[in-house]
Structure formats: structure tokens, C-alpha cells
């Protein structure tokens, strides 16, 4: 898993990719599991170019999210990786 950004400056936004998996594929499988993430370029094409990626998956954690939501996200990502990793 590649997590983008500077950890010391990051707030609750978590943009990531899994090597070999297209961000959109990850997004649609998480969506099917009831986990909402944003995928794509997030209207930041120059940053995507600088990172040499076509897009990222972005989990935006808010005040109403709890530990269970985080566990669901982690489990969902693992499940999607199993389905998509070839």
C-alpha cells in the first residue's frame, strides 16, 4: 500500500493506492461493501502528475467515523485486494 502525503502534516484525509490495482476498481468494490471513498484525480491533476499516478483512492475520515468504520475499511481493502490482485 502506498499512502500519499506527509504524515506529519496530514489531517484526516488518507489518499492511497495498492500496487497493481487500479484506484477505480478498489473504489467500486469498497462501494459494494458499503464503504464510501472517492477515487480519481480529486481535481488535483498537477499533483497526480507529480506523483506519477493516474489517480488515488481517498478515504476522508470525519468526526462521525469510529473505530468500527476504520476496521471495516481495513477489512474491505484486504477483501478487494484478494479479488483484484492477479
Amino acid at each position: 500500500m502506498i499512502i500519499y502525503g506527509a504524515p506529519s502534516q496530514r489531517s484526516s484525509i488518507l489518499p492511497f493506492n495498492i500496487r497493481g490495482i487500479q484506484h477505480y476498481d478498489m473504489g467500486v468494490l469498497l462501494d459494494t461493501m458499503g464503504i464510501a471513498v472517492r477515487t480519481g484525480q480529486h481535481c488535483t491533476q498537477p499533483i497526480m502528475d507529480a506523483l506519477h499516478v493516474s489517480g488515488t483512492v481517498r478515504a476522508s475520515i470525519a468526526l462521525y467515523n469510529n473505530r468500527t468504520d476504520m476496521d471495516k475499511l481495513a477489512y474491505g481493502v484486504q477483501r478487494a485486494v484478494k479479488m483484484l490482485k492477479r
Binding site: D25, T32, G40
Partner: protein
Amino acid sequence: MAGIQENQQALSSDFSLLTNWEEKYEFLIEMGLDLPEMDAEKKVDKNLVKGCQSSVWFDISCQNGTLSFEADSDSLVVKGLVAVLDRLFNHQPAKDVLTADLSIFDELGLWRHISSQRSNGLTAMMAHLKAAAAECLTEEN
């Protein structure tokens, strides 16, 4: 060669064995992986389908009123949807492609699992095929 109707029935029969969304997506991904790789030189702007969030290319040809195509996507799930279109419509008479619809995706139980953006993409792919079918018929006449 089987027609669109027969292809649709065969696909429905395959999907009827799958009981949940996970199995359906896995099957769809497998179908996509079974599609032959498209040559890099065919992945050009003129073959790119507009309206899809991921990149989808269709290289379409028309011969004696029959539509044939090679297609690919950088997304495995979308490539699976492309594989469904391939099984249904590849090497079919252009006139049949022109009158076909996407109700099969309802029948396969896929439509409710496809996000609105992805269903827009699917509609865009179908529109792209239909435009090529219309052009193919015009060339024939």
C-alpha cells in the same frame, strides 16, 4: 454463429449460478482477464470511449454489415463489463447491435451493483458501439 439473443441466454445461464455480488464480480473480473490484450498502438484517442471515468478503448471494424471489435480497459472491473459486451455483440450484424439494449445487465443482477458513474460508462460504451453500428450500416447502403 449464435445471435445476440442466444448469447444473452448463455450469459444469463452462467450468471444464474452465482449467488452474491462477490461471486458476480469475481466472475466478471475473470471474464475481463480472458479478453485478449489489445495492442498498445490501438490504444489511441480515436478509439477511446468518451464518458467513462476509467480508460476504455474500442477498435471497431465493419465487414459485410457485421460489426467486429477489440476492446480493453485499464480497470479490471470495466474490462469485465467490456467482456460482457464482447460476448453479446462482437461479430454480430450491425443492424442487431443497433436495436439491442442493456437490459441484460438487469437480468444478470449486475445493474444494481454498478455505481451510477459506472452505469453511465456502460451506457457510453453501448452508445459508442451503436454509433459504429449505424456507420457500418450507412457504409453498406
